[in-house]
Amino acid sequence: MDTGDFRAWVRESSRLITEQAGELTELDAAIGDGDHGINLRRGFQAAVEMLDDAEANTPGTVLTTVGRGLISKTGGASGPLYGTAFRQAGKSLGDVTDVDAARLGGALEAAFNGIQQLGAAREGDKTILDALGPAVTAYQVAVEKGGDLAAATRAAAEAADRGRHETGPMLARKGRASYLGERSIGHEDPGATSTALILNALATVAAGEAS
């Protein structure tokens, strides 16, 4: 994936999140404060604008720019978390201009670690990590099995989708949803859902389906 592909990923993520903002917000209304879609839409749209203005000419700078944009404009818990994820992912890419499957795997892992360190959640706590963790694992398994970048991102997206659905029966232990205790059970986590969208955007771009 080159710089243009990474820009396309961000645009596609923004498009999907804008399209699904209502759903994300509704999920957040059920177990949070009903702003997740609004937050991310604002954040991603700002990130896309910043990207259009910025001279980000490596995949790494594309991602760190997006990360800065998300931190600057999203607010909420998800802003710093996703912002940090993109920044860490971007940093892990250094200044390579063409990202292969292995490097992208490293970037996804860096994203996971960034969120994990900042938010101090663990898998199973009903958060972003419950979509991102399985995605990173599935990605690496696919690569190890000889899959190319398109196949690996597709595997990651599918694992994220499954992971997101699996947050339904979980009891939230981080973020606003944790205040619900038992009542958080039965609702899918909005952050895990948005993560699945972002990874689906990645798979779409990797498959060359969007621009």
Partner: protein
């Protein structure tokens, strides 16, 4: 949804424009989104912030004897690090800046990032985390207790301490002491409506109330049928008392959540005073009114702080802000 707004996504900007027009003594930075009174040389700067929709908190508490700056996020959404950093720099009087942060994941993370950035720039920042809401039990299994009414006490008392020359460490210590001595419990009779969604944040039956509600409409300990103000106050105070036994001198705030008439808050205050007297505690200071709201939510929260003579003296120190004003 019926609201006195121009457009759902312009509420914060329009409100800041109105705030700026109403309080020309304060500075409203529309670009960076903060309200400030400019730096006071030598004084520790106090910055708070959080999602909007809780007015007068925090912007209404900027002024002499209280905050130096407030950073409003979008409605119910924490502010972003950029604005917190800009406000921190704006009020840095050379002796460091104290961040007063309500304990919500979003607020904590965004303030943390801003503090790191300010630290990188050479500004010492300390943080006081407010987590006074006893509705959240087993807080080790959650994001922790929420910050609610106690924030008003912390901001006022630290504001006085800073005005009187406390250094950064001392101001932070006073803030933490007030937080440790404060407990809150909220009760919702109806839900709020976030302009951006246009729908009630939660559903309550016709005769149902949420006991232990958070200031964003977060769920409480349980739902129950509407009952008397006396029983509701008793439930709240029992919860507080179980967590922090109440005796001696206390300060009390009976706070309206935004949609409750003041006359009802007086009725609740009567019940609170009766309960505390019955438990041998003495109310030495009080606030009754809308200080930390939740948009148009009907209901109230009760905050109690166990006072010391020093804290009372700081409480009595002059304050001159849009929402709290005395002694000068």
């Amino acid at each position: 949804m019926k609201k006195l707004i121009n457009a759902p996504d312009g509420v914060l900007t329009d409100a800041l424009i109105g705030f700026a027009a109403a309080y020309p003594d304060l500075t409203v930075n529309l670009e960076d989104r903060y309200i400030s009174r400019g730096p006071t040389a030598g004084k520790v700067g106090l910055v708070s912030g959080g999602g909007s929709g809780h007015e007068p908190l925090h912007g209404g508490f900027v002024g002499y004897g209280m905050l130096d700056a407030a950073c409003p996020g979008e409605i119910f959404t924490s502010p972003v690090p950029d604005q917190l950093l800009a406000a921190t720099n704006a009020v840095d009087g050379g002796n460091g800046v104290l961040h007063i942060v309500k304990n919500y994941t979003g607020d904590v993370l965004n303030f943390q990032m801003a503090a790191e950035l300010a630290g990188d720039d050479g500004t010492p920042v300390e943080t006081v985390l407010v987590n006074d809401d006893v509705a959240v039990e087993n807080s080790t299994y959650t994001a922790g207790r929420r910050g609610t009414g106690g924030t008003v006490f912390v901001e006022k008392i630290v504001g006085a301490a800073a005005e009187r020359g406390a250094d950064l460490a001392a101001a932070a210590a006073v803030g933490r002491e007030v937080n440790e001595r404060s407990r809150s419990f909220g009760v919702a009779l109806s839900a709020n409506v976030i302009p951006a969604t246009g729908k009630p944040g939660f559903e309550l039956g016709d005769t149902e109330i949420e006991l232990g509600v958070g200031i964003h409409g977060e769920p409480g300990r349980q739902r129950g049928p509407i009952t008397t103000a006396r029983e509701i106050a008793g439930f709240a105070l029992d919860a507080i008392h179980a967590d922090m036994p109440l005796s001696g001198d206390v300060m009390v705030m009976v706070n309206g959540l935004g949609g409750t008439p003041l006359i009802e808050l007086y009725v609740v205050y009567a019940a609170v005073a009766e309960w505390l007297e019955g438990h041998g505690a003495t109310i030495t200071r009080n606030l009754v009114g809308n200080y930390i709201t939740s948009l148009e939510m009907a209901g109230c929260s009760i905050t109690v702080a166990r006072m010391t003579p020093d804290l009372t003296e700081l409480w009595d120190f002059p304050v001159q802000t849009p929402a709290l004003r005395w002694g000068r």
